[in-house]
Symmetry: C3
Subunit: 337 residues, 3 copies
């Protein structure tokens, strides 16, 4: 049960309403109403829950949930009296229902007197600008965008509609599209790490590109995205980036990618659509990574990867080969003992 | 010698006072007074120093320190005329004495006019609120807590007594207990990295839990701790977290853990008491790590670990086995040459 | 072509001027003028470009660039009509020319009323202090230094001339020399990670040192540098540090080092001059790393390294040996198949 101090629940909803929201088939009582979502183990008769992993089948069989979202193949395992929402994508259905009970907060229009806003900035309607925000010259902020306390938007930056720019974020040299969420402490658009090195030391190269972020991107806390050196750094629509990730200059990320915490992508690497990069993985610069590639946690990618491949290890190779290496080395040790 | 511009020394203290503070046995002159702490190599006759590592025995033998904290077994190695504080825990004794000469700074009560404080916030006595601080609705701040410049405390957050919340920190959806120190740039309580992925892209799952931080926790600079997805993310009492660490949603850390810089713990992993996770190590999600486990630097933990074990490598195995693997592979290379 | 919303170009310049700036030999028309810099593939007849890597020789041969910086050995490969700037360091020459077209921005003198400045702070001439900045007691800020929005400079900190301290940065217990650039979200001078551990838990050791940063250092976004425990943490002149890097207490970095993103250096390690530490590498504490050492990406350094060596792997060994290990293990797997 979510702490009411932090979360506001919009329920109740009845079974028919939830079936429509989840695009699922209701089996059971369509009039019963539900007040909240909950996990299988904690749910009561007025709660909606879900089963997405056979590992939790036993918990499912003993669950008190009034309504449960489940794959049709598992419907027969449900305890007696439990109403069901049948769908081939139970977790997606749960996401939609949970977002119905707990929709994203929308800001109330306000412009704090404690914010600094350049007279040349263009601010849309329904925008919320909290105390301590800095908005530079010629900035454009789209309708209903929420600038949270102490974030900094530098000269010329464009931010679209329905964005959330969180606390202590800095954005410069960037165009940000609609419905983008940027978590606290994220730093976007600063100088890339480019310099010429000679006998007298390093001379920084002017970084003349931008950061372009497309619709529906989420970027985690304390993540850093450098602007391009000449070309732009580009984050494709719908891409999800976790905390403490590094995106170097000129990197291009495709649509729908998932970049897990503490991963890093070096400069000028191009990544296709729906690529998954797991935690603490690192990619060298100037690579081409195809669509649908999966890169395992802690992998170190030194070469291009063709679409659809799964790689692991360092230097990263086909995940299957990497697992074999681990197994063989492990057997060598046992033989010696 | 600490730079007086930054540090204020409370000395002098005499040998008897220091013996009592350190809970150690004084051997030598109890009336001699000491003005400061210093390292063995730099200490003078009016300084207190310590020997905690036999590696520095030679330095100890030549040290000018007036008073030295040392294990009883090494007392006979001391140079003539050096007064000694004998204890089985010299480094702990040094910690106590150094904290006596240089106690934690306490803030002077002030509430800056340049801070934004919601009228519904409850502020204790002796609280220091510096310029640029943001305090949201229904926040509670305990007595003598210090909110440093430009930190942001969001709606509903509770912070206990004697806490230090440093500059450019953001805290939301959290309950923080007493005597907790949070270093600059730390981001706590934001959305976890949870979404359902389907053919039409990723749909964020509302993250309905909180972050609960118990007494005497220290959290390093630019570290990120996500709030729970449903259950809470919990940091046990006395746990020490270094800089740039990632703690995922629903993670539970026990008491007295030590998490070194750039380590990451993935979502829903439960960690026992007094666990040490060294630098750049990573833990997969949904694991159970027993009490007293040590995880070596850069290890990648993919499986549960029983209490008391020491693991290393990736995938992490018993540290001993990992060291053997390294040795065997290294010999293979030599054989080929 | 740089987005004029974000970048101001100072051109045009003619060939003679650019030859002098780049300290290069002009071959071709000295009066032709150039408006901008561009990449080989995009450059037009009014643009300056460069060739630094034989990989791009084909692009060079087909380039429309009016003027190209190139090594004398490759001059004969140039397309007809292209003017050339011949130099043995084409990338360095490009850096100088690009910095001429796009010089570092200099701030206009201003002190925002929305900044908090202690009455005991000493502020030089030509200083720019943006809104939301906090400057504590007895701080010294040198001439022409630029303090960007919401950065925090704590009591006693000294910052030299011509520095840029970016948004959401916190600096405490530090002396910063001239022409230092610190990127957004960087946290400098906080407590190191030092404590004594006993049966009753961990006791923090007062961290009584400072951070000393020498001339012409660049530090990336969200990087953390802890102050010393007793000795100082020192960053040598001209050193370049990327984003999300961790520098522990008492670390000494020499001159002209390059530390790439997400690398970490543990406490008390001393690093020589012109050392390169690639991305996600980690160094244990209390090590000595000689001059001119190169540490490969993701390496884990557990031992001292003599000057001039190149190491990789974990535990890090000579790069050549590490590559051999990879090759041998890879062959073992093939044999088994």
């Amino acid at each position: 049960m979510a702490d009411k101090k932090f979360f506001t629940c919009t329920g109740p909803y009845n079974g028919s309403q939830l079936a429509e929201i989840a695009n699922a088939e209701l089996r059971g009582n369509s009039d019963a109403v539900y007040d909240d979502v909950s996990s299988l183990g904690h749910a009561q008769s007025n709660h909606v829950s879900f089963l997405d992993n056979r590992k939790y089948l036993t918990t499912f069989k003993g669950s008190q949930a009034g309504l449960c979202i489940v794959h049709p193949d598992l419907a027969d395992e449900a305890p007696e009296g439990m109403n069901l929402l049948l769908t081939h994508e139970p977790y997606m259905a749960y996401a939609k229902i949970a977002r119905t009970f707990y929709p994203d907060q929308t800001p109330s229009e306000q412009i704090s007197e404690r914010a600094y806003i350049s007279p040349t900035a263009k601010i849309g309607t329904g925008v919320c600008i909290e105390p301590g925000v800095y908005i530079g010259d010629n900035v454009t902020i789209g309708d209903r965008t929420w600038l949270k306390a102490n974030c900094v938007i530098n000269n010329g930056v464009k931010i679209g509609e329905d964005c959330v720019i969180s606390q202590n974020v800095t954005i410069s040299h960037s165009h940000i599209s609609n419905a983008v969420t940027i978590h606290p402490g994220c730093q976007i658009g600063q100088d890339g790490f480019g310099f010429a090195s000679g006998v007298q030391g390093h001379v920084r190269i002017p970084q003349l590109g931008r950061v372009i972020i497309h619709d529906h991107v989420n970027i985690g806390a304390n993540t850093t995205i450098d602007r391009g050196a000449g070309p732009d750094t580009i984050i494709g629509a719908g891409t999800q980036i976790d905390n403490l990730v590094q995106i170097g200059h000129n990197v291009q990320l495709g649509q729908g990618c998932v970049i897990v915490s503490q991963a890093g992508v070096s400069g000028s690497t191009k990544i296709g659509n729906f690529v998954v990069i797991a935690g603490q993985a690192g990619l060298a610069g100037h690579l081409e990574i195809g669509d649908g590639v999966t890169i395992a946690a802690k992998a170190g990618v030194m070469n291009n990867i063709a679409s659809g491949r799964t790689v692991g290890g360092f230097p990263a190779i086909a995940q299957r080969d990497w697992l074999r290496q681990i197994s063989i080395v492990s057997k060598l040790v046992k033989k010696k003992n």
